[in-house]
Symmetry: C2
Subunit: 473 residues, 2 copies
């Protein structure tokens, strides 16, 4: 394919994407395929000779689309969103077209430098303390990682390194392996599984901290556990706080946890993957109070800031740069994460921040929160249902009053019909449905339709249950 | 930006990318900017209100382009390539447009399944042993990672887990921490720094294995080190072999190393990031003989297979799935790497494999190798220069006969003039220039021009040196 053909095919692809997104709500959001559906639909080997582009594109419709879960559909209410937008897609196209790879400054100065400045832009939008910004000293501050898992792992490894160094300073005979075997990390029982995974990779013990009635980790609980563990010879070194947990969007009380971590020399990392984006709105910013005690902080703009996946922010305050995995105080991004090389991802941020402006981004977040409140009210207005956790942002946790089996049956029906897509969670051992307002194009009518669909399915279920019980009596 | 505007802007961006690539050879390949150049060119905060798209695009030309190292330029001979292609860019655009995120099968069945089949396609192109393919059992085989660093880390962590389990089976009282403190990993002194980084993250000791006169690790050297370390109580558990080292594209002798690793219960991982792609050509495949002894194998299609960054293949033979980090024998890609979520990267492979066909990809590789041979001959024909390592694929290591200072001065001149871009390496302590044929559009004339440029600069240097020495005598 030469440049002339690329011009033609590229424009067709732009239309293909625009058509896809404009008509996405008419597609079944959750695909009707069985595991293994794809293999039999395509050859088992690569072709020897080139095929035509028409054939490839035809197969996108024939083979791919029937198996896609449509994350950008307004009927998608699962996980947290991939809140991409057209400016983000354009920036990604530009990034692919330039095809540059950043890992040292020289490998692509523009890539290294734009990233640093964009992280400062976001840091200011979030009103982060000054030492989380790089402009103050001209380097450092934040870096883009691929995913939350990488950010959490980087934080844990940096904390491990810092603690080993610190212990060896007062006890030079003690081996690294011996120190690591005594390290202990903490995170909420409600935290994402990637925190536990990071501890497994880092080879350290982790304890899950129980939460209060709002699913938040509180100071006294952590304090007690730290004291216990110190008494038995462990070295508490890392606490991963969550702002906006995956199951129910709960918030650990970082303003009371931070001082304890600081006093105990425990690295406090804040995982604010989803909810962190909303802190650009002044009304949500108080939830981030206490960040000044944190050693690192990460958020995920592709969940709530109109930036396409994959793009994750990881901030370290300046004084901690030297304790991170980085062997040098350098602006070379290769030392800042697990992968050394990186796409030119900051272009996405630059395009999106400029094309929406801070006010546009705030409006987007507020609209989602408002739609979630609408859904919450619909649930509260129906006596068959209950709300299971406080609705703070775009997530509503709800269930049918009754058994887990009943709720599982409801979710099964929802998934089977494929009109909307939800995933469940467990809260205090109970099976709960999660409804997350995700889409850039989700409107009030979609929320109303979704609720109507849910209540119709649940009425059927309850009617069947009633008939069945009637028969049994 | 609505869909209608996206159609217009997207088509403009396609033309922008096509123009960029068509005219790229007229740009200065290495930018003429100083560190920190960008910050003063853009505002220090995000705008409050939306800006116009025209302004953003204008700034791409004004702010970004002057700071870009043009990886896709035919004058780019540094690192190993990002060998992207137009079909890869189209597939990436489609991936951004669908905006789906894969981590479980349900999150996007098409993403999970296409990836598995594409890895089988590649596995067959490489003639991997059957147990590296997933079709034999219907699951497993390979997975796409972001980068080599992630693949190496995954291999090392899997090996660590396997060895700890194995030791504890015969000695249940021994703690994990104690075992890990005795683990020892090996890799070539010529290996990529990401191997050492993986060992730091994994908390294990690593030893660098000396190489023979061809910069290859040989069986007897490794055997001796393993015996020494076992004698002092260490547990050898991991060897990362390299096929195509970063400095000079050397090849460890895996056919003689594999049996030792197998006998000693050492996990052999093969990092074939760059050179691995060439094994789709029968004439290079013998270099991969011995892969049947390997526990894992990774290659990087974005270095040599016309697939845009980031896209890295990681293969495990089937019987090792259960010893990998994966807690379940599952097809959920979240358990297969550090990050849980992933873009729909396999579309790139599907588009590229089909639009080029196996023969097209082989032709691309052979053309690069031939151009490298041409450059080698030019160097060999000039008495002032010497070739520093065997030229097997697209990399030529060469230097001026004379001091390191002389060669450093030459590279400095090359970088300063910015017409071509090379990076150096150290071979046996000597400063050497690396010339890698990288570009999809690199032709014979570019190679000839590059050589002419190098010899002109070196003549000047040598003349100056001669004059200077003349004066001193």
């Amino acid at each position: 394919m030469d440049a002339a053909e690329f011009r033609r095919r590229g424009k067709e692809m732009v239309d293909f994407v625009a058509d896809y997104q404009e008509n996405i709500e008419h597609r079944r959001v959750y695909p009707d395929v069985e595991p293994g559906y794809l293999r039999s639909m395509i050859p088992s080997e690569a072709p020897l000779e080139p095929e035509s582009y028409e054939d490839v594109l035809r197969d996108v419709d024939r083979v791919i689309m029937p198996g896609v879960t449509h994350w950008l559909s307004p009927h998608f209410y699962a996980y947290y969103a991939n809140s991409t937008s057209f400016p983000s897609i354009l920036a990604d196209l530009l990034s692919s077209g330039i095809g540059t790879i950043g890992f040292t400054w020289a490998a692509n100065p523009a890539c290294s430098e734009l990233e640093t400045v964009m992280l400062d832009w976001l840091g200011k939008m979030l009103q982060l303390p000054e030492d989380f910004l790089s402009e103050t000293q001209g380097q450092g501050g934040g870096v883009i990682q691929g995913t939350a898992s990488e950010a959490t792992l980087m934080a844990l490894l940096s904390a491990r390194l810092k603690t080993v160094k610190c212990v060896q300073e007062s006890d030079p005979q003690r081996s690294e392996a011996d120190i690591i075997s005594k390290l202990i990390a903490y995170t909420s029982e409600e935290a994402h599984s990637s925190v536990e995974k990071a501890s497994i990779i880092g080879g350290v013990v982790i304890r899950m901290v129980p939460t209060d009635e709002h699913f938040s980790v509180r100071a006294e609980t952590l304090e007690k556990m730290v004291a216990e563990d110190k008494a038995t010879g462990y070295i508490p070194f890392f606490f991963c706080a969550t702002l906006g947990t995956t199951p129910c969007c709960a918030f650990d009380k970082i303003d009371e946890l931070g001082p304890i971590c600081n006093a105990e020399n425990i690295w406090m990392h804040i995982d604010a993957a989803y909810a962190g984006c909303a802190f650009i709105c002044p009304e949500f910013r108080p939830l981030l109070n206490g960040v000044e005690f944190a050693d690192s902080f990460s958020i995920n703009p592709n969940k709530f800031l109109l930036v396409g996946f994959d793009c994750f922010y990881f901030f370290l305050p300046l004084h901690l740069f030297s304790t991170s995995l980085s062997p040098h105080l350098s602006s070379d991004s290769q030392h800042w994460g697990i992968p050394m090389a990186r796409r030119f991802r900051s272009l996405k941020l630059w395009f999106v921040f400029r094309m929406y402006g801070l006010r546009g981004l705030q409006a987007f977040i507020r609209k989602h929160v408002e739609l979630a409140k609408t859904f919450e009210n619909l649930v509260r207005g129906d006596n068959n249902f209950e709300i299971c956790a406080e609705v703070v942002m775009g997530l509503v946790c709800f269930r049918l009053k009754g058994s887990d089996e009943l709720n599982k049956a409801l979710l099964k029906q929802i998934t089977r019909t494929g009109k909307i897509y939800l995933v469940p969670c467990k809260l205090r051992g109970r099976f709960v449905l999660r409804f997350v307002v995700c889409g850039r194009t989700t409107e009030l009518r979609h929320i109303q339709e979704a609720w109507k669909h849910i209540t119709e399915l649940s009425s059927e279920l309850l009617q069947n249950l009633f008939d069945h019980e009637g028969k049994e009596n």
